[in-house]
Every structure is written in structure tokens, then in C-alpha cells.
């Protein structure tokens, strides 16, 4: 069966990455933490589709995805570096386009979208095999 690929918003991704940067992502994911009241369920296997990215992923998940992306042998900055520079460090797209040597800003926009999607694919793929999360993989 094809992997479930939910939609995500750029705002959510931004909140996830900035929380990761500022060390505010864990807590809800610490080993014995129980989510109460947010979605009314303490078992991630059931009824967790509406969770935000912040609730679903830990610092370790985000770090792991960044490490995978950074290790990719590309001549250009990796997708991970592009996402990090724009989303977390807030370097404007036009500045990044110049730094990376792209022809114009629309190219940078497409690159950023591809990079964000690649990040999310890895992040979601990363979640599935985790048995302790009880994901429906």
C-alpha cells in the first residue's frame, strides 16, 4: 500500500524547524509523556491524523533528517541547507538564489518547494518504521 502522505503547511514546517532550533520540540515526545487533551488520545496508533508536526516529531527525528540530507553528495548546497537557511535563519529567497548561483528567484522558489517536500518525505518516512510510536506502517 502506498505510504500515507498528508498535506502539510509551510507554516507548520516553519514552526517545527524553529522549535527544533530553539530546543522546544521535546517534552511531548519524551519516553513516558502522554498526550492528554490535545487530541484526546494517548495512543499514537489511533486517531492521530490531525496532529500537528510539532506533536508528531521529536528533535531526534528532525536532526536525523537533516543529517541524511546533509550527507547527500551534491555539488550544490543540499536541500537541507536550503531549507535551514530560508526557514530557520530567514535568509530571503532572493539572497539565497544569488548565493547558490541560480538564474532567478522563480528558480529559487521551485528549489525551495522541492527541498521542503524532500525534507517532509524523509521526515514522514522516518516516522513510519518506529515501532515505539505505534505508527500504522
Amino acid at each position: 500500500m502506498k505510504q500515507y502522505m498528508p498535506l502539510y503547511s509551510t507554516d507548520e514546517l516553519t514552526a517545527l524547524l524553529r522549535s527544533w532550533q530553539h530546543g522546544g520540540l521535546d517534552g511531548i515526545h519524551s519516553p513516558n509523556a502522554v498526550v492528554v487533551g490535545v487530541v484526546g488520545c494517548d495512543r499514537p496508533a489511533k486517531g492521530f491524523r490531525a496532529e500537528s508536526l510539532l506533536q508528531r516529531f521529536s528533535s531526534a527525528d528532525v536532526s536525523s533528517v537533516f543529517r541524511q540530507m546533509a550527507a547527500a553528495a551534491e555539488p550544490m548546497p543540499t536541500y537541507g541547507a536550503i531549507v535551514y537557511a530560508n526557514v530557520v535563519q530567514c535568509h530571503p529567497l532572493q539572497d539565497l538564489a544569488r548565493a547558490i548561483g541560480l538564474a532567478d528567484c522563480s528558480e529559487a522558489q521551485s528549489l525551495l518547494i522541492r527541498a521542503e517536500d524532500a525534507f517532509m518525505n524523509l521526515l514522514l518516512g522516518h516516522l513510519v518504521p518506529k515501532q515505539d510510536r505505534g505508527a500504522n506502517g
Binding site: 527544533w20 528533535s59 537533516f66 537557511a85 532572493q94 539572497d95
Partner: protein
């Protein structure tokens, strides 16, 4: 409030700067879409020129930059610019305060410094992105946050 009146003026700017400016407009894709800068939306070539001249004039008037008149000594080309009252006021103050001897010189200096700044930004960000990539291999948020502090 009444609508702010604009008038069109022709700025005479050296050819090399005009062609770089046109390249910049293409790079920013400004003929197709607007872009955000400093919480403003830039929608046109004229609006962009007005914004960067305003930035330059304001930085001088605030004492953030030393005056330096650029004389490229080249033949010049005309760029039409739609000037609203607020911008015209700022430009007049800048000229009166010696930021530049004329609107043309003000525009020329503003463009020259804009490109100079972009070039420096580009080098700095190229370096930073390389550092991000390297540090992301360890994915340590504290280490990443410290990058760029000394640059």
C-alpha cells in the same frame, strides 16, 4: 485621506548601471510577480528603484553611511520613475543635506551601492550556506545557531 499624487520624472543614469538594473529586475522576476522586502511589496521597476533610492537616502540621513558621490563618467540612459510626494520629500531632503548633488546622482549612487551590497551579501551567504551544510551533518541546533554570529 486623499490619494497621494505621483508624478513621473526621468532619471538619467549611466548605461552600465541601467543594464545591471534591468538584469536585477529579471533576476527578481519583477516583470511577472511582486516581491517582499522590508515589509513592503514591490510591484514594479519604478517602485523598486524608488525603494532602493529611499533606502540609500535614509541611511545617509540617519548617519549610517558616509557620503560618497559616484561618478562613473559614462554616457547615461533615461529611466522613468513615478515619484510620490513622500519619496520626493525624502529625495529633496537628501539633496539639501548633501547626500548627492542631484536626483540623478542620488539614483546613481543608490544603484551603485545596492549592487555593491548585494555582491558582499552574496559572498557572505555563500560562505554561510557552506557552513550550514557542514554543521547539518552533525545536526546540532546550538552549533548551527552560533554560525554567522562572528560574520
Amino acid at each position: 485621506m486623499g490619494k497621494a499624487k505621483s508624478r513621473s520624472i526621468n532619471l538619467c543614469i549611466s548605461e552600465s548601471l541601467v543594464s545591471r538594473f534591468d538584469e536585477e529586475i529579471d533576476f527578481l522576476n519583477l516583470r511577472v510577480q511582486s516581491f517582499h522586502v522590508d515589509e513592503q511589496i514591490i510591484r514594479s521597476k519604478s517602485g523598486f528603484l524608488k525603494w532602493l533610492i529611499g533606502q540609500y537616502a535614509q541611511a545617509h540621513l540617519d548617519g549610517l553611511r558616509d557620503c560618497e558621490v559616484i561618478d562613473l563618467g559614462e554616457s547615461s540612459e533615461v529611466i522613468p520613475c513615478y515619484l510620490d510626494r513622500a519619496s520626493e520629500g525624502l529625495w529633496n531632503v537628501a539633496v539639501k543635506n548633501g547626500v548627492a548633488p542631484s536626483f540623478n546622482a542620488l539614483a546613481e549612487s543608490a544603484l551603485y551601492h545596492y549592487f555593491d551590497r548585494q555582491h558582499k551579501n552574496q559572498e557572505r551567504l555563500q560562505h554561510l550556506v557552506g557552513l550550514y551544510k557542514e554543521a547539518l551533518q552533525r545536526a546540532n541546533p546550538a552549533e548551527l545557531a552560533a554560525i554567522g554570529e562572528g560574520l
